[in-house]
Amino acid sequence: MSGPSTYEPKTAIERWLDARLPIIRFGVDLMEFPTPKNLNYWWTFGGILAFCLGVQIVSGIVLAMHYDASGAGAFNSIQHIMRDVNYGWLVRYIHTTGASMFFVAVYIHIFRGVYYGSYKAPRELLWLIGAAIYLLMMATAFFGYVLPWGNMSFWGAKVITNIVGAVPVIGPPITTWLVGGFTVDSPTLNRFFSLHYLFPFIIAAFVALHVWALHVPGNSNPTGVDVKSKSDTVPFHPYYTVKDGFAIALFMIVFAIFVFYLPNALLDTDNNIPANPIQTPPHIVPEWYLLPYYAILRAIPDKLMGVIFLALAIGNIFALPWLDTSRVRSMRYRPQAKIYFLFLIIACLVLGYCGAHEPDEKIIPHLTTFTLIDYDVNSSCWLSRVAAVYYFLWFWLITPFLGLRETPLPAPESISTPVLSHPAAAPAGASAAPEKKG
């Protein structure tokens, strides 16, 4: 992919193959890829995500063998999978749990990238491809959620397709085009199944681009300091195949706990009711991994503005490499940024909490304060507004200005420096002096 190849074909067959299709060379180079030697466990989530994608594709292909993508048959075919198909329950629970595990891993992977500044030059495109994968994942998860054709599936599909309808003039015809009728119905289910089967392979293609883009500059690392010499790196195999493998094994334990002991913990009971086009579930919520966006949508009392801010919330992630002005990659050396980052995580969690609760639900029980605009100040709606304001401020104000104003701590001269010597005993002048920006 990049850098000189160290592979030397040893046998006649390998030489013959290498001259025609250097696939062994490709694999060897991938395994010997020089990787920073200080990667911590937060860096194992890339491998974990590859594992998740594999699990979803394999379990999904199996489910598609037994699933009936029609308005009349879909709901019953899920029951058929759960009750009659040999190990159907296991494969389905792996697939439904796998979706949540996939998002747990991707959120950790994204926040790791934010904390360690992995999106900064020269890795902006790597970040953009990753953000595109995240967007594709959300679309795939949404299509998949509709397939059981339960009542929450149905109304979730209706609300999401109507979000597109908020765009003036072209919105409503696009919604009609997306759902293929006056409203969500059997044609919608059929096309969502087709797209749900297609998208994982598009994700896989983007993952290939993501890995390719990773292998040009190489991995970032917890210090954020560039690799300076060969002594800063170790070959990917066996060092990180083993570390990633160990992390995947731990991840699989958590995965298995959910599959075998809590398979319904993250599923909605309303989805055990067949789709009913005249009865909206009393409490409609998306899956947990979309709740923060849902809270932002609900926090804004105007349809079009709500949808615009929903789009901006996701768009911010794409724009991050250009919003951040700090030249110090890792927040390890940015004490102020660390605090704002902590609050960003809290804001996202609070938004998730608010998304799961009714807008008028009280945060402090039995306390009525006063109504501001539409809801009592002590309400899930107002809490989500506070969190949403912080979320946007972090992207639009804190991140651009903090990089210009803060005084970062001295970063080590090289990756090896903090590894070989105690930070306190670092030799004088070891600092790369990032605080003296030009």
Binding site: K158, G181, I278, P282
Partner: protein
């Protein structure tokens, strides 16, 4: 240029080559556009879906103060038999501050004010509002908290428009034809 490739075939008139390029690209683009349209349009509603156009309903089946939800074009249609008090409340609010101002009279058929026929789809994101809920006693949308009055007009919440009144006529005194 011609000297350096002496003895070789001399480039023909460049405008002729340009023409071939433009013609080839135009033909390819036209072909792609022509074949793309069927592949895009196939996702629009099919003929049998569009054929579900009109329904008839006998409104006398709805008791005073009640509402019946029927399926119209695969969407809920509210048929509400309003009480005089509900009508009075709706008329009294005709000039109240509203997002989508409309008089109660404009939302019913003349002389049939007790029958309110509405598409039961919240104008925010398409949920079905629940009957009788909200501060105005009309409908309350469980999804994002929009509230409609007894005329189906939006009074509070994120929905931008009133509940839609479908195209319908009274065929007899009690039978309506929708669509």
């Amino acid at each position: 240029m011609a000297e350096s490739v002496a003895g070789e075939h001399v480039e023909p008139d460049p405008s002729r080559r340009d023409f071939i390029h433009i013609a080839a690209i135009a033909a390819a683009a036209g072909g792609v556009a022509a074949i793309a349209w069927p592949f895009i349009d196939q996702m629009n509603p099919a003929s049998d879906t569009l054929a579900l156009s009109s329904i008839e309903y006998d409104v006398s089946k709805v008791a005073l103060g009640q509402q019946v939800t029927v399926l119209y074009r695969k969407q809920p249609l509210f048929v509400r038999h309003r009480t005089p008090a509900e009508i009075q409340k709706a008329v009294a609010d005709d000039h109240a501050d509203m997002k989508d101002p409309a008089t109660d009279e404009s939302r019913v058929k003349p002389g049939k004010a007790e029958w309110l026929i509405l598409i039961g789809v919240c104008t925010h994101l398409g949920c079905t509002p629940t009957f009788g809920g909200g501060d105005w006693g009309g409908w309350f949308c469980p999804c994002h908290g929009s509230q409609y009055d007894t005329s189906g007009r939006i009074r509070k919440g994120p929905a931008p428009k009133n509940l839609a009144v479908p195209d319908y006529t009274f065929e007899t005194d009690t039978k309506i034809k929708v669509g």
